[in-house]
């Protein structure tokens, strides 16, 4: 044996040395090693510092249940991954791994002072101590606690890796490829089922990988499955969550095991829908609870067998076994066969199977029955152990450099629990096993409590003659919870395991208590003098092991976080330097700055151009719905507040849409094209919602109406041409439409051609100027826009964006639903009484117009605000008070909804919702802001051309 590497054995490739580093020191391992096995082979026992007490910690396990050996891997800028379990990291040349939660170094950790002060850190310590003063929490307590108690550092650079994702469908999904999972796959292989077999490790086999006698079977089986066309094998893949209807989330690790960094995906998220699921997740060995059980070198006996048989590594040169279960005996017999000398077998039971005794005797291993370990000597590694005879209480010392724990087995019911399958308690196993499934799923093998590891005694903790209050017997290694903490929680009155768990944090670490939950339950059960099933069971929730945000996000980041909708004219805006904003997923040009202009200057120039000559605006994002059918007018009459039946074809109407509760939900101008055909428009953000609402009424309330609704938002590009020169720009390009004021009045629609392209031409205005909205098939949008720009050059035609559009409409007092209304505003509140058909017997929301709350005085109503200082532009959202001298907290009577600088008026304008606002015209209101309280006079909302003279030209 050189170091701790055994001369022979294991599944590592001794012909392929691998060089890697841990905390800056270079080590060599072999291909096939985990970081844990490779470091162990080099004699490294110390892997980290514990969460709370900063106690030195080593490996407990060999698999994904490892609670202690959390490390970070640095693969370059942005590729820093904290909190990986060393047991699951495959080594490769150049791997850089680091220990965590230590300062200045792993061996010399300043925070270990917490361990000496351990008596001051009982369960609930943080809750009890850092309560007062409140202001200290953010500034003093939390930063200090975070520095001292913690996991790995969160990476700060952006993750440059790519993450893939896919959906998969199969008839049979098998999770876990140990002997039980492989048997399930082999059994179904010859059917025509599509089978997916998943395992978190880099090769199939699970527990069989630590059992050389099974390797020939394993090789045959893996080959058969790999050759079966209907079997998909996913290794390095963790099924992390089990969701409704056999929907399983899994992450496949693709590149972390490789030394090269490429641009191929690092991980792949699998979303698998399975007809039937077989869970073969195995079982996890339980540690034993005794003083010093967290000393580096104290680990699970099954893990020692994995290190020896799979990796060819001895966990010690003379390990001892502390068992309450037969399985530990079999493990150390396997170690002995691998050439490791066993210093002693200690078993808490007073008798065991005679075959075990005979085998130990044959191997010359000293056996101590009815004994328990009561102390572990050595701080960074085991030097010897003290064992105590449970009968005569005599203590004596056994030399050992590692101590193996065999405390029985806990079936891995995590995914079963995610699926809401019920569990039943088995006294003989001291564990919960699957009971009634909630999905089409079954558990097989050890995760069903079905194993051949022998039997054991179920105990809460090892007996000890020591003062229980002075020992540190750990239950949850990762969260530093001791048996004493759990007993303290019970003494303080906690009765349910859910409460005990939260108070002590037992099982709440990143390992979700894989090694600690059952021991915690047993200790609580003893302390409460109640059987385990009576104190409950904590629930498992996804993920089974921590997963990266990258895998869950996949491609949905940056520009791909959500879809961006662009109009046909967007490319022109981009080419002409537009500044964009997102409006309900649409990318819209906000303003078009000329060189040297800021937003303010650009918007002022754009507004003045519209008022003095002509502006052009991309309105393609307006929602559009085609309403067709003999009952179309009747339908709209029932939906909108205003009357529609008498609207003549060729005319438009402003439509106001309420919800049944009487509040404004949308508005827009709509046109009647024919007796049975309407072209509706909605707000940009409301298109889908309005269509859904209309479909709802049509399908479920009035299915007798013969009407069809079709979204046409994306079928038309819409160009608004606005300003006194709009007609002059348009006239030469249009065929078949008489644009004169007499033939084509305001609020009318005509069909014809523009530049040879068919158009629905609206004469409408959201600016208060003579205006047209030119609807053309989407693909022609940019071409027509460019023709209009060319034609308009002589009038200095000016493209304007959403910001100028907002200013122009506000000058005219046109509301934006969702900005000047908030879902509690009626037509009367908004000053839109004129849009409500008083004579209509019914429309959506009409009955609510007379609800007691709607007719009550004091409702918030839309008003205009003119600041006393015309240069002050109020902040949108600013709160309004009637009396600035009232004591704080003041009564806020409303807020500013829209506020702009109006270059046309040479002053600021604003709209606001104010309680009882309609009766306050001319009065003064106050807007307290940091540094100054502004004053403003209440006005009407139309600030410009209130008689509408500019429209009718």
């Amino acid at each position: 044996m050189s170091g701790f590497r055994l001369e022979t054995g294991g599944r590592i490739d001794r012909g392929q040395p691998v060089t890697f580093s841990f905390d800056g020191k270079t080590y060599t391992g072999f291909a096939g090693d985990s970081l844990a096995s490779a470091l162990l082979a080099n004699g490294v026992m110390l892997f980290g510092r514990s969460f709370k007490y900063h106690r030195p910690r080593g490996l407990v396990a060999a698999g994904s249940e490892e609670p202690n050996a959390l490390i970070s891997v640095d693969r370059g800028p942005g590729r820093f991954t904290p909190n990986l379990r060393a047991t699951g990291v495959e080594i490769h040349d150049g791997l850089k791994a680091f220990s965590q939660n230590r300062w200045p170094s792993l061996a010399m950790d300043f925070g270990a002072i917490n361990d000496r002060l351990g008596m001051f850190f009982p369960a609930g310590f943080y809750n009890k101590t850092f309560m007062w003063p409140r202001s200290f929490w953010d500034r003093v307590y939390e930063p200090a606690i975070r520095k001292m108690a913690g996991l790995g550092d969160a990476p700060t650079a952006e993750d440059p890796d790519v993450y893939a994702s896919t959906y998969a469908h199969c008839d049979l999904l098998i999770i876990g490829a140990g002997p039980a999972g492989i048997d399930a796959a082999l059994g179904a292989m010859d059917t025509n089922k599509r089978i997916v077999l998943i395992d978190e490790q880099d090769e199939l086999g699970g527990g069989a990988l630590a059992d050389p006698a099974l390797w020939p079977w394993l090789e045959r089986s893996v080959k058969a499955l790999a050759n079966a066309a209907n079997v998909t094998i996913l290794t390095r893949t963790t099924a992390f969550g089990y969701y409704h209807d056999n929907f399983i989330g899994a992450v496949q690790r693709l590149t972390d095991q490789s030394p090269e960094i490429t641009d191929s995906p690092r991980e792949k998220l699998w979303r698998i829908r399975a007809g039937e699921v077989v869970l073969a997740q195995g079982a996890i060995e339980r540690p034993l609870v005794f003083d010093g059980n967290d000393t580096p070198g104290v680990m699970l006996s099954s893990a020692a067998k994995v290190y020896a048989n799979r990796y060819g590594v001895a966990v010690g040169k003379a390990p001892a076994l502390m068992a309450s279960h037969d399985s530990g005996w079999h493990d150390v017999f396997a170690l002995a066969k691998a050439g490791i000398s066993i210093s002693a077998i200690i078993d808490v039971r007073d008798s065991v199977d005679s075959a075990l005794m005979r085998e130990a005797d044959r191997m010359g291993i000293p056996v101590y029955l009815n004994h328990a370990v009561v102390g572990v000597r050595g701080r960074h590694g085991v030097s010897s152990i003290d064992i105590c005879n449970s009968g005569d209480q005599r203590v004596h010392r056994v030399q050992a450099d590692a101590l193996l724990m065999a405390g029985g087995w806990t079936p891995s019911v995590h995914l079963w629990s995610h699926s809401k399958g019920s569990l039943k308690w088995r006294d003989d196993l001291g564990a919960y096993v699957p009971d009634v499934p909630n999905e089409n799923v079954q558990c097989v093998g050890a995760c069903a409590g079905d194993w051949d590891f022998g039997t054991g005694a179920v105990i809460d903790m090892l007996p000890t003659p020591k003062d229980q209050s002075r020992i540190k017997a750990f239950v949850d290694f990762q969260n530093d919870v001791t048996a004493k903490d759990i007993k303290l929680a019970v003494r303080e009155g906690f009765r349910s395991i859910e409460h005990i768990k939260r108070y002590t944090t037992n099982g709440m670490a990143t390992d979700q208590g894989k090694t600690s939950n059952l021991n915690g339950l047993q200790i609580a059960s003893s302390a409460l003098h109640k059987p385990v099933p009576e104190i409950g069971l904590t629930s498992f929730r996804p993920p089974y092991t921590p997963q990266t945000f990258g895998a869950l996000a996949g491609h949905a980041k940056g520009a791909l976080f959500q879809p961006t909708r662009t109009t046909n004219i967007d490319s022109w805006a981009q080419a002409h330097g537009a500044v964009f904003e997102l409006v309900a997923q649409w990318r819209r040009a906000r303003y078009f700055p000329k060189s040297g202009e800021d937003m303010h200057a650009a918007v002022n120039r754009e507004c003045v151009a519209v008022r003095s000559s002509v502006g052009i605006f991309d309105a393609s994002t307006l929602g559009k719905i085609e309403v067709v059918g003999p009952d179309a007018a009747e339908f709209l009459n029932r939906m909108y507040t205003n009357p529609w039946k008498a609207l003549e074809p060729g005319r438009c109407r402003y439509g106001l849409l309420l919800k049944e509760d009487g509040f404004i939900t949308d508005d827009g101008v709509s046109a009647r094209l024919a007796p049975d055909r309407f072209h509706l428009t909605t707000t940009t953000g409301g298109a889908a919602r309005v269509l859904n609402m209309m479909e709802d009424y049509l399908q479920t309330e009035w299915p007798d109406l013969d009407v069809w609704l079709t979204s046409t938002t994306e079928q038309y590009a819409v160009i608004a041409l606005q300003g006194p020169n709009a007609r002059k720009v348009l006239e030469p390009l249009v065929e078949g439409i008489d644009l004169s004021a007499e033939a084509f009045p305001h609020m009318a629609i005509r069909e014809g051609r523009i530049c040879g392209v068919e158009t629905r031409l609206f004469r409408v205005s959201f600016t208060g100027e003579l205006g047209f909205e030119i609807n053309v098939p989407t693909a022609y949008g940019r071409a027509i826009w460019e023709q209009l720009m060319a034609q308009g050059a002589q009038y200095d035609i000016t493209p304007y964006g959403t910001e100028a559009m907002h200013v122009l409409r506000a000058e005219k007092g046109f509301i934006i639903v969702g900005q000047d209304t908030d879902g509690t505003i009626t037509p009367f509140d908004a000053g839109l009484d004129w849009a409500v058909g008083k004579k209509k017997p019914d429309f959506v929301g009409k009955r609510s117009m007379t609800r007691p709350d709607i007719v009550a005085p004091g409702r918030k109503q839309l008003v205009g605000l003119l600041t006393d200082d015309p240069n002050v532009v109020l902040e949108e959202g600013a709160q309004i008070v009637a009396d600035p001298k009232q004591p704080i907290p003041m009564t806020m009577i409303g807020h500013v909804t829209s506020s702009y600088w109006s270059e046309t008026l040479g002053r600021s304008i604003a709209m606001a919702l104010v309680a009882g606002g309609h009766d306050m015209t001319g009065g003064t209101l106050y807007i307290p802001m940091p540094g100054k309280t502004h004053t403003a006079k209440v006005s009407g909302v139309v600030f410009y051309d209130s008689e509408g003279a500019r429209l009718h030209v």
Binding site: R273, E695, D696
Partner: protein, 90 residues
């Protein structure tokens, strides 16, 4: 992710294709103007919140677009049945 059976498509599809549309079998009164304030309040706002069987509406919004009714258990989140709008309560 739950699978929901659309009674119009007659297929089980993932829940992301559907949108919940609130409690089922709440008909809009034929003559709202004849409703008392209390009756109208009940129609607008009063909804069941059962533990167990719940009748609710769903829309196959990213599919056929139809509204339909469903019985879902609010404890287990399992769908007992779905049926077309206009069919009697199950």
């Amino acid at each position: 992710m739950i699978l929901i059976h659309c009674p119009y498509c007659d297929e089980k599809r993932p829940e992301i294709e559907f949108a919940n549309a609130g409690q089922a079998h709440i008909a809009r009164p034929l003559d709202p103007s004849g409703q008392s304030d209390a009756e109208w309040e009940t129609y607008l706002f009063i909804r069941a919140n059962p533990r167990g069987r719940h009748h609710e509406r769903w829309r196959h919004v990213h599919g056929c677009g139809r509204f339909f009714n469903a019985v879902r258990d609010t404890v287990t989140d399992k769908f007992e049945t779905t049926y077309k709008a206009g069919e009697p309560r199950r």
